[in-house]
């Protein structure tokens, strides 16, 4: 890389919560942060977005839980995790002790579950804000996913906003598997979401040519990685176009600083790096550096100036 003056102001915010870097982990793609410590300075990144937590400990689904796909992967983890008690007892204190910002992803199968989780996270040290995973296609209760129904999605978001610490911004995480993502975005922001995380995985399927059955026990799974990047960018573009004042945490296939730049130009004020971490454990820090260099090369003095620039 050529030496470039990278004195770009990279600070941004998640809602009103300031962060020094716009690059975050993605929920479910960096566990709860600790495993990345050998590779990344966790205090320097925007935040660790924790794996979606539910009320009770969950085993997750049986294996196989993944299939590699062209420039992507399909997963069906089933939200394995320690439950909110474990998160509060172990993971969040570990992050807080080190000064690592946590953006806590919450998930549930009933509106009340979400509200209770938000309630439990009030005032917890180091918790910058909440990401509401209304779009995970992997949870047991298949039926319709909350995120696919503007009304159900709004119910969750307004319950969470009401129960959550007023100091903690609440982001709703949207699914791309809808006819009208702008409609869902509008509904959840009307319901009180302080920002939007976009996008969660696309529903996909892989069949094992040997067993001649779906690879994943849950039949379908979530597609992620660079393969889905154009879909993610389109969602960010459409929603920023319609709701220019709503902060967006953009994600879906980000692997390099130039990928992150595309999301910023489309309207994201921060980004999450998910599947790319599996390929490159230092990806979150690298993407930050590459994005800073890319902004500098293009003459931006700050990240904020670039947000939504492609719409001008």
């Amino acid at each position: 890389m050529t030496a470039v003056e990278t004195a770009v102001d990279m600070s941004t915010a998640l809602g009103w919560a300031p962060v020094p870097s716009p690059v975050l982990t993605a929920s479910g793609c960096s566990a709860n942060g600790a495993e990345l410590e050998p590779f990344v300075d966790l205090t320097a990144i925007g935040a660790v977005v924790t794996k979606s937590i539910q009320l009770r400990p969950r085993s997750g689904r049986p294996t196989p839980r993944m299939a590699e796909t062209p420039s992507g992967m399909l997963n069906s983890i089933g939200l394995q995790g320690p439950g909110i008690d474990g998160l509060l007892a172990d993971d969040l204190p570990w992050l807080a002790e080190r000064g690592v910002r946590a953006f806590v992803s919450i998930a549930g199968t009933r509106v009340e579950d979400f509200a209770e989780l938000a309630q439990r996270l009030r005032g917890v040290p180091g918790v910058l804000g909440l990401e509401v995973n209304i779009s995970c296609p992997n949870v047991e209760s298949r039926g319709e996913v909350f995120a696919c129904d503007p009304v159900a999605a709004s119910d969750v978001v307004s319950a969470v906003r009401a129960a959550a610490d007023p100091a903690q911004p609440v982001y709703a995480k949207l699914s791309p598997d809808v006819t009208d993502i702008v409609g869902v975005a509008r509904a959840v922001t009307d319901a009180g979401a302080d920002g939007l995380s976009m996008i969660n995985t696309l529903l996909g399927l892989v069949i094992d040519p040997d067993t001649m059955r779906p690879v994943l026990g849950g039949v379908t799974g979530g597609l992620s990685g660079p393969a889905i990047r154009p879909v993610a960018l389109r969602c960010v573009w459409q929603v920023h176009q319609a709701l220019p004042d709503v902060p967006i945490l953009g994600m879906g296939g980000i692997r390099s600083g130039l990928d992150a730049l595309q999301f910023v130009l489309a309207g994201a004020s921060a980004v999450s790096v998910g599947t790319a971490v599996f390929n490159d454990p230092s990806a979150v820090a690298r993407v930050h550096d590459e994005l800073a260099a890319a902004l500098a090369e293009r003459g931006f003095g700050s990240l904020r100036e670039a947000v939504g620039y492609a719409h001008r």
């Binding site: 479910g28 566990a31 495993e35 410590e37 050998p38 009770r56 400990p57 839980r65 983890i77 660079p226």
Partner: protein, 291 residues
């Protein structure tokens, strides 16, 4: 039933990520042995650990890392033995001397070592035997007598027989009788397990299960290095889990990359791999009820 093993402790060192060069390359039967110039990984490696490679180079459609056991580490070099299988391992096996490759390691928990002098039986299936060479050397240094069983489908799928032979007695078995004794490693293990104080195994899951059961039945602790499908190798994706009994006697879905790949042979619930038994911690939240 109380356990014969304690869970393998963490490795002494953290992994690093480096772009390294292939220093040497050698076909070995059906496999390819690659020697990497990777001093920072070599100096951190303990027997039983593995590395994870990014595959396909800069134009790759394959995002997930490929885990490969470390077959040797020393003099600033790390040796691996690769069996070309799908696109990733075939790409690795096709690397040439001087080619760069992105590698993370050493990863996973090493084999716990027994009390000095404990006679040990090492059982390797296919390329799995390669992963036992470092352990054999280590045990020898600690005063153990080492007996190894190397098994494979056929002679060209054996590995590291000479290296292990330099460190102790080696029994070779092949399914087709093209080398050593015809039959499975378990035939040889049955003869040998009574004479040792600990068993180590690396190879396909079916073999690990059989060897672990033999050892446990004989009251001998065993440690197996499992080979579960891994997306990241560093503990962040949760794809590589299998049901493992903890020290508290409860079964959890444990990540084979960071809580393994080495597990007590009597702790892995081999029969339940790929299923969700009701007594796994958190199975109730998945809607699985006790029978």
């Amino acid at each position: 039933m109380s356990s014969l093993t304690t869970p393998a402790p963490r490795a002494a060192h953290r992994p690093v990520q480096r772009i390294v060069e292939v220093a040497r390359r050698r076909p070995v039967g059906a496999y390819v042995e690659l020697v990497l110039a990777a001093p920072e990984i070599a100096e951190r490696t303990e027997p039983g650990q593995f590395v994870a490679f990014a595959v396909g180079g800069g134009t790759s459609a394959h995002l997930l890392r490929r885990s490969i056991a470390i077959a040797g580490a020393g003099n600033g070099e790390v040796t691996v033995v690769v069996a070309p299988h799908g696109p990733g391992s075939t790409w690795l096996a096709g690397l040439r001397v001087g080619d760069p490759v992105d590698v993370v390691g050493p990863l996973g928990r090493p084999y716990p070592v027994p009390a000095p002098g404990t006679p040990a039986l090492l059982v390797g299936g296919g390329y799995g035997a390669a992963a036992l060479v470092g352990l054999a050397a280590h045990l020898r240094e600690a005063g153990s007598t080492v007996t190894a069983v190397c098994g494979a489908a056929s002679a060209d799928r054996l590995s590291s027989v000479d290296e292990l032979g330099a460190l102790g007695e080696v029994v070779v078995t092949t399914d087709d009788g093209s080398a050593g004794r015809q039959g499975w490693v378990t035939d040889a293990v049955a003869d040998l397990v009574g004479r040792v104080g600990v068993v180590y195994a690396c190879g396909p899951m079916g073999m690990l299960r059989a060897v672990a059961e033999q050892a446990t039945a004989a009251g001998v602790p065993s440690y197996v290095a499992v080979e579960e499908s891994m997306a990241c190798g560093i503990g962040v994706c949760m794809t590589c889990v299998l049901p493992v009994v903890g020290e508290d006697g409860r079964t959890r879905f444990a990540r084979s990359c960071t809580e393994g790949p080495v597990f007590g042979g009597d702790r892995v619930r081999f029969a339940d791999v790929g299923t969700l038994p009701w007594d796994v911690v958190g199975a109730d939240a998945m809607g699985v009820v006790a029978p």
